[in-house]
Amino acid sequence: MKILLNGEFVETAEGATVASLLQQLDISRERVAVELNADIIPKAHYEKQPLCDGDKIEIVHFVGGG
């Protein structure tokens, strides 16, 4: 299935969760925030939060800024 991840279409496996997506991307959950279809997903829910075809996901972190 395809998801829209940070503005790019990305292929991900059926049955994927937020946790498995982060693992696939090699992103550590500690320092990121995940938004699924405009709702923030708490870190404790990553394992049980399924992803669906066409989901819009934003994964953000901190960068240098003033």
């Binding site: 991840l5 940070n6 503005g7 790019e8 990305v10 991307l25 090699d26 992103i27 320092r31 990121v32 925030a33 995940v34 938004e35 405009a38 923030i40 708490p42 870190k43 934003e58 994964i59 953000v60 972190h61 901190f62 960068v63 240098g64 800024g65 003033g66």
Partner: protein, 259 residues
């Protein structure tokens, strides 16, 4: 130690440094880390952006000891209250802290705040338990409104962001200082160490800067200069300066002059 007792309290947290530093525009993450260390800052600002999906680039936080600093995520680049609130919620989830530097911009050329949207966003965030430090205009009415709705500090600009023009509005800053009780932190405008000292001599609780350090020819040396200027300005403010007089007043005794 006089200096140690003179702490800054924001949102229930106590800080010994009154210099807050941004983490943008440095040549490298190594340089960022070194400048932060030399500056003595305890509060550092960061921006919230999408992660790189290819993971080829390193992350700022790999270089920063998070035990040493309070991260102050900003809402830079947000032009509406909705965008700013969304960014703050993401920042809280990413950083597990309620501190946010709220900025809602009104115009790309000046980067001046949109105070109407700022107040709207601040109200929502405070209701959600955030500790809000708003970047705002040097307008005492806006600052009072921000204080009234529960902001932990107010952060009026001294001049446009990144301009390095210095403290162009000392009288407005003084009026704000006389009329609000929360810490007043000059955010934006500082270009050199003397500018930082001037802000502190006015009685500001702190100074927040980024470009003045990161854009200097030697950012590490400027970080140290800013640290010393903020300390010097604070001590000078507390010491109480002499009144300005138009004419001379001799420092040496007039008695006992040779005949």
């Amino acid at each position: 130690m006089t200096q140690n007792a003179d702490t800054l309290i924001i949102g229930g947290r106590e800080f010994t440094s009154r210099l807050m530093v941004g983490t943008g525009k440095y040549a490298s993450f190594e340089q960022t880390a070194k400048a932060l260390e030399i500056s003595g800052a305890q509060i550092i600002t960061v921006a919230v952006r999408r992660v790189n999906l290819d993971r080829s680039k390193e992350s700022l936080l790999d270089y920063i000891d998070l035990k040493k600093y309070t991260l102050l995520p900003n809402t830079a680049g947000c032009y509406t209250a909705d965008d700013a609130v969304r960014t703050c919620r993401l920042a809280r989830e990413a950083g597990m802290s309620d501190f946010v530097k709220l900025e809602v911009l009104g115009d790309e050329k000046t980067l001046f705040p949109d105070n109407e949207e700022l107040l709207k966003a601040a109200k929502i965030l405070i209701a959600e338990g955030f500790t809000v430090l708003p970047y705002c205009s040097d307008d005492v009415i806006v600052c009072k409104k921000l204080e009234d709705i529960g902001c932990a500090a107010v952060m009026p600009l001294g001049a446009p962001i990144g301009s390095g023009l210095g403290i162009r509005n000392p009288y407005n800053i003084r009026i704000i200082l006389e009329n609000v009780s929360v810490p007043v932190i000059v955010d934006a405008g500082v270009g050199s160490a003397s500018d930082a000292a001037i802000a502190m001599e006015l009685g500001c609780a702190g100074v927040l800067m980024n470009t003045a350090i990161a854009g200097a020819q030697d950012p590490i040396a400027m970080a140290e200069a800013m640290k010393l200027a903020v300390i010097a300005g604070r001590l000078s403010y507390k010491a109480g300066r002499i009144p300005r007089k138009l004419y001379a007043n001799a420092s040496s005794p007039l008695d006992g002059m040779i005949g």
